[in-house]
Amino acid sequence: MLDPDQGLRVLDCKAIDHEYLHKDFHGALCYGIKYLDDHFGPEATTAYLRQVGRSYFAPLSQQLRGDGLAALEKHWREIFTKEGGNFSLEIQDGVLTLTVHECPAIDHLKKINQLFTPRFCETTVVVNETVCGEAGYKSSCHYEPGQGRCVQKFWKERE
C-alpha cells in the first residue's frame, strides 16, 4: 500500500511471500572474523569457528558419519545452488572434491565492498575440518584470499 502524496507508505508481508536469502549476512560474518582477529587474535577466531562446527553443524557431522560423503555432497549442492554459485562436485576413489569456480559469498562481499578481511575463507577451512573431524573424516581447502575460487577435498580418515 503506497500513498506518497500523503507521505504514508505501508509494506505488509508474510513469511511465505519471499525466499529466505539475505546475502548481506556474509558481510556481518566477514566483519566478525576481522573483529575476532583484531581484538582476540587468530587463535580465538579458530576457536570460535570450531565452536560453530561442533554446535550448529553437529547434525551435518552425524549425517556424514552415517551416510558418508554423499551427505556432504548433498549439503554443498543445496547450499551453492541456493546461493547461485558456480561450482562442481565429484566423488572419485573415496574423495569428494568441491571445486568452487565463483564463490557467491566472495562475489557478494566484493559487490557491497565488505570483504573486510582476506581471512574470510578460514571460515570454510576451520568449519570443514571440525565437521569432518567430528565424523572421522579429513578435509583440505586450497584458496587464494579474496579470489572467490577454491578446491575443497573430503575423505574418510584411515582407521
Binding site: V10, L29, Y56, I79, A105
Partner: protein
Amino acid sequence: MISCTEFIPAYSELFKFLEAQGGKEAVVKFWESLSDKFLTNLHDLTATKGLAGCFEYWSHSLTEEAADFRMTLDEKKGTFEIEMRHCPSRGRLNELKHIEPYEHYCEHCDVLYRRVLEPFGFKYNIDLSTCKDATCKLTVEKESSS
C-alpha cells in the same frame, strides 16, 4: 562457505563466544563496532532520505529475510514503525533443537540500530518484551513530533 542461510546460528554462537571471552560487555562492544562498520548502508540511506531511508533499508533486508511484518512510514507525523509478527532470525533460532540461542540475542537490534539512528536526531525505541516469541516492535520518530 557458511551460507547466508546458516548465518544466524553462527551469529548467535559468536555472541556466546564473545561473552565467554569478556562478559556481556565484550558482546556489546562488538555490536557497537559492527554498527559503525557494517551498517553503513542504513547510515547512508538515513543521511540522504531520513525516515524514508529507513523504510528503504528495511524493505530490502526484511523481504530478503522472508520476515512476517508490517512496516509503516508516516512522513507527516514523522514516524517509522516495524511491527514484527515473526522475526526470521529469532524464529530460526527457536526452531533449532540442538543449540540454544544466545540469552541476549535480540538486544543486538537495539544496540546496532539505535547507534545509527539517534545521531540523526531520531528517537529510537524497540519493544523486546516478547522477542523470545520472535515478535517485537520498532519505532523511530523525529524528536520534534513527540
